[in-house]
């Protein structure tokens, strides 16, 4: 059945506006709305993309930071252990330097005594605070003026220097006192070299 077009138009009858029309400027509102949707789409997408990239970079940097901090911690621990080891080695080195054998010195002094002289008393003592220094006290029964000089030559031949020496005659005996300091010329002796220093009597 055909319906007349004019009758269909009649379904929507002409109606008069109940409200007054909005001002012309309000026609911008839908335009602004569409623009804002475009703005949100573009700016939002770019921002989300940037944010995601920055977040990934941040996570990677944080991971690398943690691994570097761990590495620094390990290096510091190794350095501390090495420093401790070096301090311990210095303690041992100081002991080694302050424990040079005295037997060669005693032998050298004894051997330098000539037949007209004799030792009444010989004492060699390490200074407790500076063990590399030796306090020598020697009492000689001698008629020779040169005997003491011979003994001192023998001591110096072993690399010792005599510091603040004093000598006096007590009851006919020559008393000599001095502090002996060995010049190692900066060399550190090995255990083998120490053994080789020992003299057969």
């Amino acid at each position: 059945m055909l319906i007349d077009a004019r009758k269909i138009d009649d379904f929507k009858t002409e109606r008069k506006d109940l409200l007054p029309p909005l001002p012309m400027v309000f026609r911008l509102v839908p335009l602004l709305f569409y623009l804002s949707i475009v703005f949100v789409s573009v700016v939002g997408s770019v921002a989300v993309w940037h944010s995601r990239a920055a977040s990934e970079r941040y996570q990677s940097v944080v991971g690398r930071t943690a691994s570097l901090q761990e590495e620094i911690k390990q290096i510091k621990a190794k350095r501390d252990a090495l420093d401790d080891r070096a301090l311990e080695a210095m303690d041992l080195e100081n002991w080694v330097l302050g424990s040079m054998p005295l037997q060669p010195l005693v032998v050298a002094i004894m051997r330098s005594i000539d037949e007209n002289s004799s030792i009444v008393d010989l004492s060699i003592e390490r200074d407790p605070e500076t063990p590399a220094q030796l306090k020598l006290a020697l009492t000689l029964r001698t008629n020779s003026d040169k005997q003491l000089e011979v003994i001192l030559e023998a001591i110096r031949a072993l690399g010792y220097r005599d510091l603040s020496p004093t000598q006096s005659m007590v009851k006919g005996n020559l008393e000599y006192r001095a502090t002996l300091l060995r010049d190692t010329k900066g060399r550190l002796p090995s255990p083998q070299e120490r053994k080789q220093e020992i003299s057969p009597s």
């Binding site: 909005l22 940097v61 070096a86 311990e88 002991w95 053994k195 057969p200 009597s201």
Partner: protein, 185 residues
């Protein structure tokens, strides 16, 4: 306000909210980028720090290598004696081996200090005070043998005077043996 105006106002409000939302996304991205940047700066500082630490460690390693190698040769001698009983039995044995007349032996442990400061690695010394009266050659050889086989042992005092017989000497000897407390530092 009529319905048309209200509808327009709502659309304007929606526009404002949309723009606000876009700007907040952008701000969030900016702040995340700033955090990443700050973390990168921190990372750069750490990289510098690790370079410094590595250099310091390398320097220390180089500086101490000679000393550590040197002390490595001595360590086995420090390790030989680790308690007073070992010192006593070792000295008594060596005195008997040489058949030396030993008038007295006294052992004590003393704290090891240098300039009134305790030595952490070698905190204790075993001090043996020995008095002998025997042949001079025998005593000097004994002293040499002891200093040779125990190079870390220190004769801290030796006093020799005439002995009871012609070739004999009376010798007061103080020996000090350090007890190594390994790895205390």
């Amino acid at each position: 306000m009529n319905a048309k105006q209200l509808a327009a106002l709502l659309v304007v409000l929606a526009i404002v909210l949309l723009v606000q939302f876009a700007l907040s996304l952008r701000n969030q991205a900016t702040s995340t980028a700033a955090e990443a940047e700050a973390a990168a700066v921190e990372l750069e500082k750490l990289q510098t720090q690790i370079d410094v630490e590595k250099r310091l460690f390398g320097d220390n390693e180089r500086n101490s290598s000679e000393l550590l190698a040197y002390i490595g040769k001595w360590e086995k001698f420090f390790e030989l004696i680790d308690r007073q009983q070992a010192v006593e039995s070792f000295l008594s044995l060596k005195v008997r081996e040489f058949d030396i007349l030993n008038l007295s032996q006294r052992y004590e442990q003393v704290p090891h200090t240098i300039n009134n400061k305790p030595n952490d690695s070698l905190p204790v010394l075993v001090r043996a005070s020995l008095i002998f009266d025997d042949n001079y050659v025998k005593l000097i050889n004994w002293m040499g043998m002891m200093e040779s086989i125990r190079p870390t042992m220190r004769v801290s005092r030796v006093a020799i005077k005439e002995g009871s017989r012609d070739l004999d000497v009376r010798t007061d000897m103080v020996l000090e043996i350090p007890l190594w407390k390994k790895g205390t530092k």
